[in-house]
């Protein structure tokens, strides 16, 4: 290996500090979540225990963590599925110009840049004025889509920018109908990116706060619940929750990476040279 230039060490140090900066607080709360039963929200630690994690699984004084977790999970999955389907359709649509495509694209960008609280406020207003019930699965769902769809769509743009149209022509040449082309050629080829869109959609929704604030109705999603807890809970149980949500996120990513890995391995196995002379 060539020797590293000095700038490498400077930048590596900066990078290391940046990581520390990123992880510092997370690690802090991870440590604090193992406070003893007497412990508070700040250092010093008073003993070490799993008390607060146990506490998390018991009835809290206020709120309903697991109920809101369940709602967030369901909502996340709903948003994820919708985002994947709608973004793929949108991505396909945008490959050709159509009337109003420019306007629609600008709307997508607007959707990305308009502050969340405005969407939240607006959707809440519309629903109340129209006399519709505000519920996380209707108004909350819609408000979140205005956030996940632009991301999904932009990813699809990136994917289709790199997608060789010759694949589709080859499929048509082989007699595939438009639907068969999408089903047997386009979708399998872009599948890994779809997983990515799904993962993105899920986490954006799962973590969305501002857009859900005024659109979730009488039942909280997890971020709202956590928001409530930050003002209503005075024990390290909230840190335990934080640690647990982090772990959960890591599990989701892990599952995602594993899926990709397995898919890649399965493909590779199909045609490996193992045990064969070339």
């Amino acid at each position: 290996m060539d020797p590293r230039p000095r700038s490498f060490y400077v930048l590596a140090t900066v990078f290391g500090l940046f990581l520390l900066f990123l992880y510092g607080p997370t690690i802090t709360i991870a440590i604090l979540s193992f406070q003893g039963p007497e412990g508070g929200l700040t250092f010093p630690m008073r003993g070490a225990s799993l008390h607060w994690f146990r506490d998390l699984f018991e009835q809290q004084a206020v709120g309903d963590i697991w109920g809101s977790f369940g709602r967030s999970l369901v909502l996340g999955l709903l948003v994820m599925a919708t985002t994947v389907v709608v973004s793929v359709m949108g991505g396909l649509a945008f490959r050709k110009r159509f009337r109003g495509s420019g306007l629609l694209f600008q709307l997508v960008i607007a959707s990305l840049v308009i502050p969340s609280i405005l969407v939240s406020l607006g959707v809440g207003l519309i629903f109340t004025q129209a006399g519709l019930p505000i519920h996380w699965a209707t108004s909350g769902f819609g408000a979140q889509l205005t956030w996940t769809l632009p991301f999904g769509l932009l990813i699809m743009f990136a994917v289709f920018n790199r997608f060789d149209p010759a694949y589709e022509e080859a499929a048509r040449d082989g007699g595939a109908t438009p639907w068969q082309t999408v089903r047997h050629v386009v979708l399998p080829i872009i599948a890994p990116s779809l997983l990515g869109v799904g993962l993105f959609g899920f986490t954006l929704s799962y973590d969305e706060f501002a857009r859900t604030l005024l659109t979730s109705g009488s039942r909280n999603t997890l971020p709202l619940e956590i928001y409530g807890m930050t003002t209503n809970v005075t024990t390290p149980v909230i840190f335990a929750l934080g640690t647990l949500t982090t772990v959960f996120s890591l599990l989701v990513i892990g599952a995602f990476l594993l899926t990709l890995r397995i898919a890649a391995r399965r493909r590779a196995r199909a045609g490996s040279d193992a045990g064969r002379a070339v």
Binding site: G40, G217, V233
Partner: protein, 390 residues
């Protein structure tokens, strides 16, 4: 359909919206109570705008002044309330004792009754139809960290004392915060209010001007919006003096941190909470709701709340659910005979300690004003908003 299949959705602030209550309801009455805890702005908002999202609203009296006229709540027939007669006078004719004077602000009895079923007005005296059934109330004052202050505090003026610059806090709930601010300004002798609970625009402007100036000068460390925020601020030493709620002080103390609920010469600012029923509630769920209310007033909840430092609307019934030691300490202002512990098992006072502020009558007899909604509420709200943003 049986009553135990009923599910009632209740929401309110974290103060009284406790899951223990729901559990006990399930045990004692058999039906399900779903609790949602929100901050008081959100509570107001939901009560006023989303009547279908709840069955029972656990709100404060001053909020009722905003919510009741919307017709989202239904009047309650006092004849169905078993312990109606034992409810303390504050919630009926406004007087703790026959000779008490009624404090400024939205005293609970002024918004406690309506003309009849379907009424959206407030009645001046007991009519047999209540807007809210009182549940919980208290008198608030400043909380301090005696260890960090090291000298006696006697007046509301201390909140703006430059000595505590960067170490003071105020609550950011406009209707309550402005009252605390008014207490301070009045104590400082800067403003003489006609009625702190119903200020004129000019009074509001002057009050906010004083507070804004203090804020710009860095008097405040932080504002708080919920009970526990105030606890955290105090417990972590970020703040040494702030407007505070009694149980919040209890909570700080339970961590072994010295904290005093400081009686002040100008008196207390008081508040009261109650339960209202959604106007859409009828039939079996409505029966369940009445059953719930009667159960609420029958003592267990009262004891549960009183042992945290609040007062019950029907103290007599609660007495049965408290030990004589607890009753003596919490209600009568006597020194504790044995260690006093909270319902959650934290030790709050050692033998010999006396409750800050003394007995029930000592406290509730020195109320200077009630949390309220003013005629100029909207103007006040905007000014408050400006103050927070300033």
């Amino acid at each position: 359909q049986e009553i135990k299949d009923v599910t009632l959705r209740q929401f309110g602030t974290g103060v009284s919206n406790l899951n223990e209550v729901a559990q006990k309801v399930k045990e004692d009455l058999g039906f399900t109570l779903e609790m949602t805890a929100l901050d008081s702005d959100a509570v107001t908002q939901r009560a006023a705008t989303q009547p279908d999202s709840f069955d029972i609203a656990d709100i404060e009296y001053w909020i009722a002044k905003k919510v009741w006229p919307t017709g989202n709540l239904q009047a309650m027939d006092t004849s169905k309330i078993a312990n109606y007669g034992k409810i303390v006078g504050i919630f009926r004719d406004g007087k703790l004792t026959p000779e008490s004077t009624i404090a400024q602000g939205t005293a609970p009895h002024t918004v406690g009754f309506t003309s009849g079923p379907g009424g959206t007005d407030f009645a001046a005296e007991e009519t047999g139809w209540m807007t809210l059934i009182p549940t919980i109330y208290n008198a608030d004052t400043l909380g301090i960290r005696p260890d960090l202050i090291g000298r006696p505090i006697e007046s509301w003026t201390e909140l703006l004392n430059p000595e505590f610059a960067g170490k003071a806090s105020l609550l950011d709930i406009s209707s309550i915060g402005i009252m605390d601010a008014a207490m301070v300004c009045e104590a400082m002798g800067e403003i003489q209010y006609g009625d702190k609970g119903n200020m004129t625009r000019d009074e509001i402007d002057r009050t906010m001007a004083i507070m804004t100036e203090a804020k710009r000068a860095g008097q405040f460390r932080s504002f708080w919006k919920t009970f526990d925020e105030s606890v955290n601020l105090m417990a972590s030493g970020e703040v040494v003096i702030q407007s505070m709620w009694s149980p919040a002080i209890t909570a700080v103390k339970s961590r072994g941190i010295p904290c005093v609920y400081q009686p002040l010469k100008e008196g207390y600012r008081s508040w009261g909470g109650g339960i209202g029923l959604s106007s859409s509630l009828s039939g079996l769920p409505l029966d369940a709701a009445y059953e719930y209310i009667n159960w609420y007033l029958s003592g267990w909840v009262g004891g549960f709340l009183m042992r945290q430092g609040y007062y019950s609307a029907v103290p007599e019934t609660s007495k049965a659910f408290m030990s004589p030691n607890e009753w003596g300490y919490w209600f009568e202002g006597k020194p504790a005979a044995e260690p006093i512990s909270s319902p959650f098992g934290d030790v709050l006072a050692q033998p010999g300690e006396v409750r800050d502020g003394g007995s029930f009558h000592e406290r509730m007899g020195h109320v200077a004003c009630w949390n309220s909604v003013m005629d100029e509420n909207q103007y006040m709200v905007r000014k408050w908003n400006e103050f927070i943003a300033a």
